[in-house]
């Protein structure tokens, strides 16, 4: 996980899940091949996912990575 000083990665993962028939964290975790704890940590912005996982999430929700992840304050 990479941290860049002064930058925090925000995300819309929770909204994406809710838009997808109130999908649970467990279901999303299974769908993208990670544990539920990883989804929880990403949603709370405590964990920055790898590029690969970000792309898998974007592919799963059929959107761009920028539609899910953004730099807070920009």
């Amino acid at each position: 996980m990479q941290y860049i000083p002064g930058m925090v990665l925000g995300n819309q993962l929770k909204r994406c899940r809710f838009d997808r028939d109130d999908m649970s964290q467990e279901e999303l975790a299974r769908a993208v091949g990670v544990t539920r704890q990883t989804i929880i940590a990403i949603e709370k912005a405590r964990f920055v996912p790898s590029t690969l996982l970000a792309l898998r999430l974007a592919r799963f929700f059929e959107c761009r990575v920028e539609d899910i992840f953004f730099i807070q304050g920009e």
Binding site: M1, A29, G33, V34, Q37, R46, F47, S50
Partner: protein, 163 residues
């Protein structure tokens, strides 16, 4: 008495190592698209690691004169060895060779770094007090092993479950 216990423990250890070897070698179906080391297995491994570490330390200070001769420290670590044998079997089934997900990987790395940082002062303190303790000779290695195992497993579990 001592030799009989030693023989029994040795036989048990050999039997468990054979089981671990068989488990590690058993071919498994490939599990594409799912985390290979799932949440339950990961948490169980951390918990077993912490329990093994604590048990090893208790055994070490309770029976310092028997812990090496009776192979008690190897016995205390054996549950974790069996679990890691299962990990190897699961990892062999991983299609990409990557068995852990992003966060598991990160949590284990962070716990390992913190453990290394904590183990240095812990060993320094123990070394300074070593004249008064029962630790001598070969007991240092199991002591180091169980201290680091306890800290590392406990921290990994903490980081992984922290909300």
């Amino acid at each position: 008495m001592a030799s009989r216990v030693e023989v029994i423990v040795k036989l048990l250890l050999v039997a468990l190592l054979v089981v671990a070897g068989v488990v590690a070698m058993v071919p498994r179906r490939r599990t594409a698209g799912r985390p290979v080391i799932g949440e339950k297995l990961f948490v169980a491994t951390c918990a077993v690691g912490a329990i093994c570490g604590a048990t090893g330390l208790v055994v070490l200070f309770a029976w310092p004169q028997h812990v090496i001769a009776w192979h008690l420290w190897e016995l205390a670590a054996m549950p974790l060895v069996l679990l890691y044998a299962y990990w190897i079997a699961m990892m062999r089934a991983a299609p990409t060779g990557q068995a852990l997900d992003d966060k598991q990987d990160f949590d284990m790395t962070r716990a390992a770094a913190t453990t290394w940082g904590l183990s240095v002062p812990a060993m320094c303190v123990t070394f300074a007090l070593s004249d008064k303790s029962a630790l001598n000779g070969g007991l240092w290695f199991p002591y180091f092993l169980f201290v680091t195992l306890l800290i590392d497993s406990g921290l990994t579990l903490y980081y992984f479950k922290r909300r």
